[in-house]
Amino acid sequence: MSLLSAAVRRRGPGALAWHLGALVVLAVVLYPVVWTIGASFKPSSEIIGALDLFPADPIGDNYTRLTEGIADIPISTFFLNSAYIAVGSVIGVVLSCSLTAYAFAKVRFAGRNAMFAVMIGTLLLPYHVLIIPQYVLFQKLELINTFTPLLIGKYLATDAFFVFLMVQFMRGLPKELDEAARLDGCGHLRTYWSIVMPLCRPALVTSAIFTFINAWNDFMGPLLYLNEPDKYTVSMGLKMFIDQDAVADYGGMIAMSLVALLPVLAFFVAFQRYLIDGMATSGLKG
């Protein structure tokens, strides 16, 4: 655990220097966030050009402006669309990736190693090779301007990273458990659902949160597939806001940017342990 600490305590910088260093990094990292919070309470004319982090005379106009919506569409529409896609993605990823991961980790079938190699290969595949043919496919199927193109891949386990994460986790489970389940006459489906899934909660939660946040932040997907403002996600709503009011309404734009991040920040505060540990494990076992 505290591998470096003994050596460092004797030789390295003292506690004071350490905290000073950590605080400097903290200031740099959090500056844009704090600046945004401050700016959201400034009048638009004072956002660019003022060096003060917080306004002398905070106003709430930028937030009341948001209640008017963007281009006659209430902001709640964008949030509901994003929430629908994000929650739908989470359900799809948790189900489809865990089924695939179970097969890789626990079922001995012909071609498993080859398929695993292919799956890892897709992890390295640039998404941009696929956007043109996938667009043509969804266009032929008349699915443009629906949420299907944004969701279908989540239900078909194409997020290889999460499959990989779950395989790693399932391989770490004590094998006595599913052996015992077998002896008791459990089939694979039963073992998957009643033994492996509950034990995999940390990996499932990590995948779920990452999926939610990625879907919420996604920009290119909605940019390609959604073309009517009432279908737009929060990212697209924001983009529409910039196109419309870039110069005139800096305050509203900053306030909207902050509000758009709230679900992500809430998830992060609640689940940061899972996220960080999940990320850390992914790099360790190759």
């Binding site: 695939t100 079938f109 078909l156 489906l189 920009f219």
Partner: protein, 329 residues
């Protein structure tokens, strides 16, 4: 909880499953140990069916189709017209395509090392056990999650525009600038700053790697009189090289594909003067604005080749600098 019953055939009792489990995918079991039977096969393929469908319809099929499209002229409304290698020759003759290659290479070559250096430096700081360590870890990780959003790009635009914060700060130090966003020579560095700001994800991976380094090594080195630099280059770096490799690979591939932040920071123009015309920006413009689906497919394939080459070179170089020792893998 509802109990799900499987068909009795899915489980064949008495076969040697423990071997399979011990040798998970990628395990180095001799092929002879793998004796799949028909029921196991059936179960495996049933569980895998979503992935198999996804792979065929969303990955493999589209890849074949895009390879075909890359030799055609196609605008989505008329049938694709075969033009052979012309998309590729057009590409190399196109100054804007060359600009996009230049911008992307610059972004990858500067952004990735700086980001990884920052991540490693901060990880080494946080590897010391001190009060507040987990708070700092979480705070430094936060930008990695919001950095990809449109919101972050908008804030970046505001921070780096003319007479805004960065500009004013520069003036305090006597450097005349006029904002990075409007300056074709500087805007790319605003983008690079945005990616470096998201050092949190590689940082936690480094941190996990640093925790695996046995501290006896440092103690022994200290006894031998090795200073901090020697300890860093002769112990820390070799010991975390697998994790470093993983981070370099992931971040490089990731950087090649930057789109959203370049698009928003430049206000949808990939400018000024094509200064943020990253590869995917140009691909998007050619495919979806100019309806040159064939040309864009060809661009996609070249990106795949480039990423494949970089990946291959990294894997090849692995032998020289990545040390997998006990517990390393």
């Amino acid at each position: 909880m509802t109990h799900i019953h499987t068909s009795p055939g899915v489980l064949a009792p008495g076969d040697d499953r423990s071997v399979a489990k011990r040798n998970g995918p990628g395990g180095n079991a001799p092929p002879a140990a793998e004796r799949p039977d028909r029921r196991e096969n059936l179960a495996g393929y049933l569980f895998m069916s979503p992935w198999i469908a996804g792979f065929l319809f969303l990955i493999a099929g589209p890849m074949v189709f895009s390879l075909y499209l890359s030799f055609t002229e196609y605008n989505l409304f008329e049938a694709p017209r075969w033009i052979g290698l012309q998309n590729f020759t057009d590409m190399f003759a196109d100054p804007r395509w060359r600009q996009s290659v230049k911008v992307t290479s610059w972004y990858v070559l500067i952004g990735t090392p700086v980001k990884l250096a920052a991540a490693l430096a901060v990880a080494m700081l946080l590897a010391q056990k001190r009060w507040g360590q987990s708070f700092y870890r979480a705070a430094f990780y936060a930008p990695s999650l919001i950095g990809a959003s449109v919101s972050a790009a908008i804030v970046w635009r505001a921070l780096f525009s003319d007479d805004a914060l960065v500009d004013r700060t520069q003036k305090v130090f006597g450097v005349e600038a006029g904002g990075w966003i409007g300056d074709p020579a500087m805007i790319i560095y605003a983008l690079i700053a945005l990616t470096v700001w998201q050092f949190g994800a590689p940082m936690v991976i480094f941190l996990a790697g640093l925790k695996q380094v046995p501290r006896e090594l440092y103690e022994a080195a200290e006894v031998d009189g090795a200073g901090p630099w020697r300890r860093f280059f002769h112990i820390t770096l070799p010991m975390i090289s697998p994790v470093l490799f993983f981070n370099v690979l992931l971040e490089t591939i990731h950087s090649f594909q930057i789109f959203g932040s370049a698009y928003i920071v430049s206000n949808g123009s990939c400018g000024p003067a094509d200064a943020t015309l990253v590869y995917t920006c140009y691909l998007y413009e050619q495919g979806f604005v100019n309806s040159r689906m064939g040309f864009a497919s060809a661009m996609g394939w070249l990106l795949l080749v480039a990423v494949g080459l970089v990946t291959a070179v990294l894997f090849w170089s692995q032998k020289r600098w990545v040390h997998y020792e006990e517990g390393g893998r």
